[in-house]
Subunit: 341 residues, 2 copies
């Protein structure tokens, strides 16, 4: 083996010495600049490959004051919606030379602040983060960072810079309209107890407001935390119907608990959607395998990721252009659990 035994990571200088070309020119080749003669380029590439040189982006980033990282901060990875957003971001960033870096907050504002601080300390080219609600310190950091910031998922509120999402209040209202139009009158809401899931809260607010316009109000609510969402959906459904047996519609704050509820109802032989209507939220692909299709509203997860990434990718690091606002309009998918009339 001709490799140096020393475990010091290789530097440009090592490559330079190995091929007899100046460090500067080696650097040019490795950055794919086109002002190098083909001959030298080959020589350099061969040497770099031979040695197994991996460039040091820390040094490069410091020297160039430019880093190809995009910070992406989401509340959770465990409910299938954010992984899809991340998929959209990754795909859209694919050929831009930009690289997403993910951070998770567990729906904790303080954790978001900490993760953001950590990520900004790497001087990324942009930030994508979920939601419009942040601690004052987090807002300040974002405003001062001097890089494009895209807040995603939610458009109900004031954005720091750009925003891509849907109105969850409108989604709640839209569902209220559909429920009322289908003739349901005794509506229950089932959701997570998480106080920091602002979007679930807004959907409930939208639902309530929408019902109010028809002189209706929620007949019952049920909240949960932790555990398997599918199992919780079953339990909550049983519980809410025991408490308030005359409900004729259940609106779940997400498809997973909705699916659990649906499965429970079918097992009990309830007449869905005649006696009881059901609806969830998100438009999870997962619903396609269920015995009946749960009514839902697509949250446009992948598209949100893609659009957000495009906004970051499309803007240089210089002058901060005014924020872009993209409000997608989700479509209600009535499935088989809202009666048609």
């Amino acid at each position: 083996m001709t490799k140096p035994d020393i475990r010091r990571p290789l530097t440009l200088r090592d490559v330079s010495e190995a091929c007899g070309v100046s460090e500067m020119t080696v650097s040019r080749v490795l950055r794919n600049r086109d002002d190098v003669s083909p001959a030298t380029r080959e020589k350099v590439l061969a040497a770099a490959r031979e040695l197994g040189y991996v460039p040091n982006k820390i040094a490069g980033g410091l020297a160039s004051q430019r880093v190809n990282l995009v910070a992406v901060i989401v509340p959770s990875l465990s409910n299938m919606v954010f992984p899809e957003v991340l998929g959209g971001i990754s795909a859209a960033l694919e050929d831009t030379g930009l690289q997403p870096v993910f951070g998770v907050t567990n729906y904790l504002a303080a954790r978001e602040e900490a993760v953001l601080y950590e990520m900004l300390s790497w001087r990324p080219s942009g930030v994508i983060l979920a939601g419009l609600e942040h601690t004052p310190a987090a807002r300040a950091m974002l405003e001062n960072a001097g890089i494009p910031v895209v807040e995603i998922m939610d458009t109900d509120g004031e954005a720091i810079d750009s925003v891509v999402g849907i109105s969850h209040r409108a989604a709640g209202r839209q569902m209220a309209e559909a429920i009322v139009a289908a003739g349901y009158r005794r509506i229950g809401f089932l959701g997570t107890k998480m106080p920091h899931d602002h979007r679930a809260r807004k959907r409930m607010e939208g639902l309530t407001a929408g019902l109010a316009e028809h002189g209706l109000e929620l007949a019952a609510t049920e909240f949960y935390e932790g555990g398997s969402a599918l199992a919780k959906g079953r339990e909550m459904t049983e519980a809410i119907l025991k408490r308030v047996p005359d409900l004729d519609f259940l609106y779940y704050s997400n498809d997973m608990i909705g699916a659990g509820g649906l499965i429970w109802c079918l097992e009990k032989g309830l007449d869905i959607p005649e006696t009881l209507g059901l609806a969830g939220f998100n438009g999870l692909e997962f619903l396609e395998g269920l015995p009946r299709r749960l009514a839902t509203i697509d949250a446009c997860r992948r598209e949100i990721g893609e659009r957000a990434a495009q906004i970051i990718a499309g803007r240089g690091m210089d002058g901060v252009i005014g924020g872009v606002r993209v409000e997608l309009t989700p479509v209600l998918q009535p499935g088989d659990t809202i009666r048609r009339r």
Copy 2:
């Protein structure tokens, strides 16, 4: 609306000037070193907070030759198993000062190589990556990186450094034993077509080998790609039973398609587990909400993440210690879909 002052990112020097303390001491305070007097510490902290200073880890990393990042590379985020691994890693890294950075390969070896190259160029403190199969170039990079490397999920093969996982071949065998012991004889395998899901492949190999020991062989196989796993599970189950109606057991390569199959079978009124037994793989929490509990083998996802992170966190950057090998032994959960005798 637009802020008039062009915002050059703040440096240590700005903080230093703002509080009249040398850059060096400011640096000490910001790194929480205890060799600074409380008085100066407060002064510095106040100034830093006031200015909204965010340290530049690029410069810090270059100067100290040390970076608190751990590269984590997984094939996918979309099937619930890796998000759980990442959760375990994040939790275990929580108070170590180390920060995970995630990369996704989509089960593509070439993509893994590219992501790895990118991540190593940031000189992380360690690497955690799924599987033992890598391109030669990727292996070379890992061997030369001079940092701890933990390969996770799978122990069937030769590790580069450390490894934490389960034997998927053994899991397949274990399932074969349980199936045969329960008296099933006509066994079908349903799985993904992905040629690069080595672990699914090994489970199938283990199953085949285990059956062979009892003079049995697979009576049918069915593969899918893309789409909703739950829906695919239904379709495949219908298809395989149409092709080979006398099957008495279906082994699915993951719980999601298994759940789809289970739902389909229950709808069709098949006598589960008497006429037909079913089993999946992973031990997804999700199964708890289903009408029957699908038999499965827990893949120990969270624990794998935790143990891998501990290995990285427990080792300094100096001398590379011999690799650690952790083989967890997953427990078969028979659920309600394997008959008991």
